[in-house]
């Protein structure tokens, strides 16, 4: 309603002179794409400051970076299993000092729960609120599974652990995460041991194994 929509020609709603373009002048082109990612600059940056202080700070910075990586505060991500276990990795591990925070200054929930991580906790389900009868049944089933996997030798350990476990299950269920981590670690070990189908105890090195002389290497073996 306000004014004409411009019969044929657009009229500016403000005084074009005020912005600096003279009337009728060709306006600059409309930019149709975003500006370039690395535009050319007419003015190159000023060179960096140099001096004793700056050099010292530079060396300090690089040194601090290296030192921080070796401090106990640098928590490394647990590496995924590599395809090939490199021999040198065993000897290139950096041994870090253990750091124990002052527990008096931290909230109580920060302390790691002191639980034995040897026996697997029989519960993965998070229904800590349910009655103990259900948990006991699940416990038994789980326990049977575990026993099959682990072999008879460790049965007695598990019985003890499991009793403690069911008692503590009535507390908060946050232990599950710790358990899962512990269980995963154990399973990993088992996997490692069982990578091949051969049971180690079956094969016994003969006396002559590896002791054969290599004098006759020029002869082909059939």
């Amino acid at each position: 309603m306000a004014g004409n929509k411009g019969r044929g020609r657009a009229a500016y709603t403000f005084n074009i002179e005020a912005v600096g373009f003279s009337k009728g002048e060709k306006l600059p082109d409309v930019v149709l794409k975003p500006p370039p990612l690395f535009p050319d600059t007419d003015y190159k940056p000023v060179p960096l400051k140099t001096g004793e202080g700056e050099e010292y700070m530079l060396a300090l910075k690089q040194e601090l970076r290296e030192t921080m990586k070796r401090m106990p505060y640098f928590i490394e991500t647990p590496e995924e299993r590599q395809d090939i276990e490199r021999y040198s990795k065993r000897y290139m591990k950096v041994y870090k000092e253990e750091w124990i925070p002052d527990w008096r200054r931290l909230p109580r929930e920060m302390m790691p729960r002191n639980k034995c991580k040897k026996g697997p906790k029989p519960k993965k389900a998070k229904d800590a609120g349910k009655g103990t009868s259900l948990t006991n049944t699940a416990d038994v089933l789980k326990k049977i599974e575990e026993l099959e996997k682990r072999g008879d030798g460790e049965k007695s350990d598990e019985e003890n652990e499991e009793k403690e476990g069911s008692k503590e299950k009535s507390k908060e269920g946050e232990d599950d995460d710790d358990d899962d981590a512990a269980e995963q670690e154990e399973y990993d070990e088992e996997d490692q041991e069982e990578e091949n189908d051969y049971i180690n105890s079956y094969f016994e090195d003969g006396d002559d194994f590896g002791a054969d002389s290599d004098d006759n290497m020029d002869e082909a073996t059939y």
Partner: protein
């Protein structure tokens, strides 16, 4: 927090503490105050790791906790404190200039470990200094303690809030988290310790004799069996005091650049006298009389009282208004206008950026608009004596980068564009904020580029490290020149070239980070003091 700040925090945390701590830290910065379970659930990390990460972050004063209703403890991250990690080299170097190597190592240990007890600091520093000394000499604990006490007296290190001592008859269960308190008076109180001992040199022969890898060595040496006398009293580096010192340095060098060495010395004396008496956020220092200043001038300076008075009058009359006269008693009372000084420094930074980015004619227009506050298009052309087309072009360039803004003044209530004045103006606070944001972005870019360069040449770097290790071990066992030569040739000439280039680039990127951080400091101080005033 802006995206740029969060990105920079993420890069810093990752470089210093690893990825797990970075994930938790960035999540807390993004979402604010959260309890433990929610953090674990939202980030998808195990509770165990979240606890470890939070312990590290709390130790380094990057995260604080608070007990809310129903006993829930919530954790909050301090984004600005994370950004301070960029400035660690500057803090350590400053301490070196003021308190030499001992002080430098004390502050370095405090910054690396977040907080430490005094006895722990003294022991670590003495051991480190002993390593660098010649054989047979050791560093005495007493000397390190003295430097520590001096640092505490000048407020460069301060006590952390501590656990309140409750009486034994406290009924009920302990609270979920301790409420740490600190008394103002106690903040710099050094506990009475009699630390007797000398630094121990770590002997390599002992390690070999043990015959076991280091990890199997007991984690606690026998020293820790004794009760630590200052248990529970932790110290941290007082970053505000360092900032105050940097600010003073900036003001002194500005005065030296503008006037001469003597006036900068006078200003330095005035600032030194008000170090402890003025709080860091005060708009100006306590008034100092000319007589006091004369007495406190450094010993080497032999200027007479009249000359000093003349200098002070000159400083007070300067249009920059660093120094102001607040009274006539005692030969003239003078103050240093800290806020005005910071504003001038921030403005100078802006001007310099405009000059380096757009050229000196743009800088002239910028300074003009700064001086006249509001100008129309036509007036800009006239005052700056620049042809209309170019002036228009430059103004629009600066406008598009947000250094200059437009102020509309309507003549009629309907704000019709043809009947409105458009005035160009510089809003210093807004421009400073914009520039600060750009600084954060540029440091993030620098860090990323450095990491990229290092990753590209990782293989080559590892190879050169191995070769150096081999050479070092061979030299230790006494090898001939020819053998060493042969080992050195394992790295070919083009590889050596590549390593040189890499080293040069990484050094340049690191040095740039340090310098951008100086600009960040100036801009942040200015913004902080302006916000306090509003």
């Amino acid at each position: 927090m802006t995206q740029a700040e969060i990105k920079l925090c993420s890069l810093l945390l990752q470089e210093h503490f690893g990825e797990i701590v970075e994930k938790i830290g960035v999540h807390l910065i993004r979402t604010g105050s959260q309890p433990l379970r929610v953090i674990a659930h939202d980030t998808g990390t195990s509770l165990d790791q979240v606890k470890k990460a939070l312990c590290v972050l709390v130790q380094h004063n990057l995260v604080s906790y608070q007990v809310h209703k129903r006993g829930v403890v919530e954790y909050e991250a301090q984004c600005s404190r994370v950004l301070r990690m960029l400035r660690y080299p500057r803090y350590i170097y400053t301490t070196k200039t003021l308190y030499s190597d001992t002080g430098e190592l004390i502050v370095e240990e405090l910054l690396l470990n977040g907080k430490l007890t005094m006895s722990a600091v003294v022991k670590k520093v003495a051991d480190r200094l002993t390593e660098t000394m010649e054989d047979g000499k050791t560093m005495d604990y007493a000397e390190v303690s003295n430097t520590f006490v001096r640092l505490a007296d000048t407020h460069f290190v301060q006590r952390c809030p501590s656990v309140p001592t409750t009486e034994n008859s406290d009924p009920g269960p302990p609270p979920p988290a301790p409420a740490l308190v600190i008394n103002e008076k106690d903040m710099y109180l050094v506990p009475k310790l009699s630390l007797i001992g000398k630094g121990k040199r770590r002997r390599s022969s002992d390690e070999d004799a043990a015959g076991e890898p280091k990890a199997k060595r007991p984690k606690h040496t026998t020293d820790n069996k004794e009760p630590i006398p200052d248990d529970g009293i932790y110290w941290q580096a007082n970053l505000d005091r360092f900032h105050q010192h940097f600010r003073d340095q900036a003001i002194v060098s500005a005065v030296a650049n503008r006037m001469d060495q003597t006036s900068s010395e006078i200003v330095r004396t005035m600032l030194r006298m008000s170090e402890i008496t003025t709080s860091s956020s005060a708009p100006f220092t306590q008034p100092l009389s000319s007589n006091e200043i004369f007495r406190s001038l450094p010993v080497g300076y032999n200027i007479s009282k009249q000359v000093l008075d003349q200098y002070l009058t000159l400083l007070a009359d300067d249009p920059l208004e660093f120094v102001g006269k607040s009274g006539d008693s005692g030969g003239g009372m003078y103050v240093i206008n800290l806020h005005k000084a910071l504003a001038s420094l921030a403005t100078a930074t802006l001007e310099s950026v405009v000059q380096e980015r757009f050229g000196s004619r743009c800088a002239r227009i910028f300074r003009l608009v700064l001086q006249k506050k509001h100008l129309e298009q036509k007036q800009v052309e006239d005052f700056a004596m620049i042809p209309a087309k170019e002036a228009k072009d430059m103004l629009y360039k600066m406008l598009s980068e947000n250094f200059i803004s437009l102020q509309e003044i309507p003549k009629t209530p309907d704000h019709a564009p043809s009947r409105t004045f458009y005035l160009y103006t510089v809003n210093i606070l807004a421009a400073a904020r914009m520039l600060l944001h750009r600084c954060y972005k540029s440091i993030a870019n620098l860090i990323e580029r450095r990491q990229f360069e290092t990753k590209e040449n990782k293989r080559l770097l590892e190879k050169s490290q191995r070769v150096e290790a081999i050479i070092a071990s061979m030299q230790a066992t006494g090898a001939e020149e020819a053998q060493l030569q042969e080992i050195e040739e394992m790295i070919t000439a083009p590889e050596r070239q590549q390593l040189e280039t890499l080293k040069r680039n990484v050094n340049k990127l690191d040095a740039s980070e340090i310098q951008v951080d100086e600009t960040i400091f100036l801009l942040e101080s200015y913004i902080e003091c302006t916000m306090k005033r509003l």
